[in-house]
């Protein structure tokens, strides 16, 4: 499988209008890492809209922040990420701004709000903590996850697996996927943006003939591990977590090369009001401590400095994800229409 590195692509990344913070001079400079010990104490009240996910690990982070800042009154509204994003838009239309900060489990929901002009600019000293490819002017990715091919190690060798997501449809491999799953739909959206609708529909149709559907992506990985299929399309952390609980699991990760099959997506946070408390709160999520915690406990990929990825995942620099403006993944409607047209949904 061919590999290219992020660095090989970054020269072109500066051309992306949606990523104005990505400039060549950032390439050489390693982003600085900030410890919680360097941050000011949080004071006063802040209302956070929190997208549900990660089984409470985000809540553990919030609890830790509250414990460290006794004069900080954090009010949290929880719900599905997409529903909260819609609520924020509706509130804005009614000229109400209840939420001051929005922490979303996927960048698509972030895109919905940045497109509406609801996200406030973030200071450059904050965004510059992130790796260059994850710097955006008005939202901050918190942690990343990468699309992978989880394959059964008794049925396949890594070299048997195509390094192109398009080639997968032409292979004779049996495949598991979860088309109703949000991460899968983001991946198809990325493919649509990268190669266009018609090619994506053709791919979906071809894949649909050989793919077995599952409700979620852990189910996909389990199916690959049990040998029900040769491989499955899923976010990386399911395989890592399975191997953590079942070290002899017969499954491993492979990556495609520079296409939507190895898209790096991210959870993200944005400020809906200009306030020092909101900005400083976001700084806490980008500290070495929080990023390391989410990497070790949730198997998510840290996006600041040179923190190591979760155990079992190669360094991001050795994988070649495609160049996609993550905020554009919000536009799901054409994707869902395409998936229906292809008979996948």
């Amino acid at each position: 499988m061919q590999r290219r590195t992020f660095l090989q692509q970054l020269g072109a990344l500066g051309l992306l209008g949606a990523c104005p913070a990505i400039l060549p001079q950032h390439l050489a400079a390693a982003p600085s890492m900030v410890s919680v010990k360097q941050l000011p104490k949080l004071k006063g009240e802040l209302t956070l809209y929190l997208g549900r996910g990660e089984g409470g690990l985000y809540e553990n982070v919030l609890d830790a922040i509250k414990k460290r800042n006794p004069d900080f009154d954090l009010k949290i509204r929880r719900g599905p990420t997409a529903a909260l994003a819609n609520a924020i838009v509706a509130e804005a239309q009614a000229n109400v701004r209840r939420a001051e900060v929005f922490w979303a489990v996927d960048s698509g929901a972030i895109g919905l709000l940045t497109d509406k002009g609801l996200a406030q600019p973030l200071p450059e000293d904050l965004t510059s903590q992130l790796r260059p490819e994850f710097r955006f002017p008005n939202w901050a990715p918190v942690t990343g996850r990468i699309r992978t091919l989880a394959y059964n190690t008794e049925r396949l060798k890594a070299s048997d697996i195509p390094d192109s997501i398009l080639a997968l449809a032409e292979s004779d491999l049996s495949i598991a996927w979860a088309p109703a799953y949000a991460s899968f739909q983001s991946f198809v959206t990325a493919m649509r943006l990268l190669i266009g609708e018609q090619k994506t529909i053709n791919w979906l149709k071809a894949m649909n003939k050989r793919a077995k559907k599952y409700a979620g992506e852990l189910g996909v990985v389990l199916a690959a591990e049990r040998g029900e299929v040769d491989l499955g399309l899923a976010n990386h952390y399911y395989t890592l977590r399975l191997k953590s609980g079942k070290p002899d699991a017969t499954v491993d990760l492979a990556f495609t090369n520079n296409d939507a099959g190895c898209l790096v997506n991210a959870s993200g946070i944005l400020a809906l009001k200009q306030s020092d408390t909101a900005i400083n709160f976001i700084r806490y999520l980008l500290t070495t401590e929080v990023q390391s915690y989410l990497a070790s406990e949730a198997y998510e990929i840290p996006l600041i400095g040179d923190l190591a990825p979760p155990a079992g995942l190669p360094a991001l620099q050795t994988i070649s994800p495609p160049k996609v403006d993550l905020t554009q993944l919000a536009n799901l409607r054409p994707t869902l229409n395409m998936m229906r047209k292809a008979g996948v949904l």
Binding site: G56, E59, N60, R68, G79, L218, Y238, K246, E297
Partner: protein, 270 residues
């Protein structure tokens, strides 16, 4: 009655007596009222409603015996049940009995619609009456626990679980609702609850769980995605569905123990 009481106590012991209702949750009889958080104040009303309902059903059965199917208008059995507040009181407090009530209601209705013999219809009527009294007993006991602050308040608006242990509680409550909706013959709604529960709740905790007990997660994955949906789509009885859900509840209790253990040894963020 004693059996129901001991079941209720057992359920209270595992902190899952109350089926927590989310914002979108509406009882078959309409919006769940706040009366479910003031059970003691409403016990007389509930008792009167049960008596009224029993009388109404008896009237339907009697008309059937005298004048036949059309005159009986057996569908009214369901309408009468949906009209009473007691409906929400039992639905939000003890779903297993709630499901049995629906079985009883349909037992009467269908025995009439199928032109069954008088004895058979009366037998169904007696079963329904028995379960209604059991349900009233369960609500009375729940009222005592509520008065002593031992019951979680029924949420009338969306809050959402804040950690993995609360997530398990909500999953268990929703599975009880699956049985209830299936008993109401709302098969599609029950299947939707299963899918939504899997995607919006179980999916969020299974990552943590699988690193502790992969086999347990594999079994629950199959339960959520194969066993239970297939049962709901097929010609299963309420008891068969209840058995599947009971089995899942046991696994979820094991999952909760694992997550609680992890929570007590959790790594500090800072």
């Amino acid at each position: 009655m004693q059996k129901v009481f001991s079941q209720v106590k057992s359920v209270i012991g595992t902190f899952s007596l109350i089926a927590i209702l989310s914002s979108s949750m509406v009882s078959a009889g309409g919006e769940v009222g706040d009366h479910v958080n003031h059970l003691s104040d409403n016990l007389n009303k509930y008792s009167e409603e049960v008596s009224w309902l029993i009388k109404k059903v008896d009237g339907i059965v009697t008309r059937y015996e005298l004048d036949g199917i059309k005159a009986a208008n057996a569908k009214a059995v369901i309408d009468h049940w949906e009209a009473v507040d007691f409906h929400a009181a039992i639905e939000s407090n003890y779903v297993p009995v709630y499901a049995l009530i629906w079985q009883g209601l349909y037992g009467v209705k269908e025995s009439i619609d199928n032109n069954s013999g008088k004895e058979a219809v009366r037998a169904e009527q007696r079963k329904l009456e028995q379960v209604l009294w059991q349900a009233l007993g369960a609500v009375k006991l729940a009222a005592q626990f509520q008065d002593r602050g031992l019951l979680q308040k029924v949420a009338l608006r969306e809050g959402g679980p804040t950690n993995s242990l609360e997530t398990i509680d909500e999953i268990q409550a929703r599975l009880n609702r699956v049985v209830a909706k299936f008993a109401e013959k709302l098969n599609k709604e029950s299947i939707d609850i299963v899918h939504d529960t899997y995607l919006s709740l179980f999916e969020g905790i299974e990552g943590d769980l699988i690193s502790m007990n992969a086999e347990l997660v594999e079994q629950l994955e199959k339960d959520f995605n194969v066993t239970l949906p297939l049962g709901l789509k097929g010609n299963s009885s309420v008891k068969q569905i209840q058995d599947i859900v009971n089995d899942m509840q046991k696994k979820l209790s094991i999952a909760k123990e694992l997550l609680a253990k992890k929570e007590s040894n959790k790594k500090e963020v800072f």
